[in-house]
């Protein structure tokens, strides 16, 4: 009962998003943008982490870039390879503690497989600024450019996501 008036207010706000005046690329993007803002505004009172969780799920990339699952073994190689992902330059992974000198600029990746779903992990690799606008982390995949303008290829991103899912 306690959350109920808030939930009603949230639903009202979301439905009001149909006629939003937010300028964006398409009407669908308008509505999505508006929902994101409205939901965030209400949820920050209902649930401490709620706004963050909602914005994360709204901006996830649920579809596989290749239409198939990746290979976690190859993903581990991409994560550790300095010429590829080079993730350990900035992040720590306890499961790979045999590799020395892991970085501390970014948060530890331990447990990211439990904390985030595939879509969120994929979004974080492809465009971390969607979740963390001020992050120093580069974007590791660029769909528009040719493959040389992208740090990782689509299959490599999928392999990496598969490996990160194992980091529970």
């Amino acid at each position: 009962m306690a959350g109920s008036p808030r939930r009603i207010a949230l639903l009202l706000a979301l439905t009001a998003c149909g006629g939003s005046s937010i300028v964006s690329a398409t009407p669908a993007a308008n509505a999505a943008e508006c929902k994101r803002k409205a939901a965030g505004f209400y949820l920050q009172f209902a649930d401490e982490g709620g706004a963050k969780k909602l914005s994360m799920s709204l901006q996830a990339m649920p579809a596989s870039l290749t239409g198939a699952f990746g290979d976690p073994e190859r993903g581990k190689e991409i994560l550790t390879n300095r010429q590829k992902g080079d993730c350990l330059s900035c992040h720590k992974v306890s499961a790979l503690s045999s590799i020395a000198d892991q970085g501390g600029i970014g948060p530890s990746l331990d447990g990211c497989g439990s904390r985030y779903d595939d879509g969120q992990l994929r979004q974080m690799i492809v465009n971390p600024k969607a979740y963390f606008p001020n992050t120093i982390m580069p974007s590791y995949y660029s769909p528009d450019g040719a493959s040389e303008a992208s740090v990782l290829t689509a299959p490599e991103v999928e392999d990496l996501v598969s490996y990160m899912k194992t980091l529970k």
Binding site: C90, G103, G104, I105, I136, P138, S139, A149, V151
Partner: protein, 276 residues
């Protein structure tokens, strides 16, 4: 009695491993306030404060410093006659007890040079001198001779800060250098400022990010097992963010060197350095 012997033995063995704890995140690093209030850094910390204690000790000891042999070669080259008239640097500039300007040469460059009508680096000035005053062929930017002379002149400037001028004719190049420092570069789209202004002290790629001061160059880079110049370090940084490196002594690199020299005031020159 036996207990104390055992304790002493344990301590002795433990101290063998003490040197390995080099990446303490809570290390206190000595800093000074920047000379200019417009400096983006609020505290200036020398490069040596970010490197492992072992390597810091190597840099501090001229006999142990692998780059110091370059200083000695540089001193020899300084006095070696060349060209049709058999002149050496020493002929005009005297020995290292010579006029102050040579002691401070490393600190004054890059600077605007009237005859070339542009801001030039110390290596360019050396080559101009070689051609005009000695009549000798220029040295390559990363040749052993050039690196030796840069190491020698750098060592003469030790202990005093950079004295670059960023006003007047130097101003446009200084501003360009500042812009470059803040420009996102390469496939990874990272700017110098993001790491060296905002994330120094963090563990990255097996090292600790420094503030990126130019004061220890030329420097012996342990991972490359050779002495490198500042511009070679820029090339490495470019490759790190997966950008195309430029030529040594490229205008962008000279501009960046000018900006970094200003930004380092008033930390002292520590060339030649040792870096991991």
């Amino acid at each position: 009695m036996q207990a104390t012997y055992i304790a002493a033995l344990v301590l002795a063995v433990a101290s063998l491993f003490a040197g390995n704890s080099v990446y303490a995140d809570t290390e206190i690093r000595r800093s000074i306030a920047p000379a200019e209030s417009t400096n983006p850094l609020k505290e200036l910390i020398q490069g040596a404060e970010f490197i492992p204690a072992q390597i810091r000790a190597q840099q501090a000891d001229d006999f142990d410093n692998p780059a110091f042999s370059y200083v000695e070669s540089g001193e020899i080259l300084w006095g070696t006659p060349e060209g049709p008239a058999g002149k050496s640097c020493q002929t005009c500039h005297g020995g290292d007890q010579s006029p102050i300007s040579i002691k401070r040469a490393a600190a004054n460059y890059p600077k605007y040079f009237g005859e070339s009508r542009q801001v030039i680096s110390l290596s360019s000035r050396i080559n101009i001198c070689r051609k005009k005053n000695i009549g000798a062929a220029p040295w390559g930017e990363d040749s052993t001779e050039m690196v030796s002379l840069l190491a020698y002149l750098g060592s003469l400037g030790r202990g005093a800060p950079s004295a670059v001028d960023v006003e007047g004719l130097n101003a446009p190049v200084f501003e360009h250098g500042q812009k470059l420092f803040e420009t996102k570069l390469g496939l990874l789209q990272l700017s110098c400022a993001q790491c060296h202004n905002n994330n120094y002290g963090q563990k990255f790629g097996g090292d600790i990010v420094s503030q990126g001061h130019p004061l220890s160059y030329p420097s012996f880079k342990v991972s490359e097992n050779r002495v490198i110049t500042l511009h070679e370090r820029f090339q490495m940084c470019n490759r790190l963010v997966r950008a195309e490196p430029q030529q040594l002594n490229a205008p962008d690199y000279v501009a960046l060197e000018l900006y970094l020299s200003w930004r380092s005031k008033s930390l002292p020159i520590t060339a030649p350095g040792v870096r991991p």
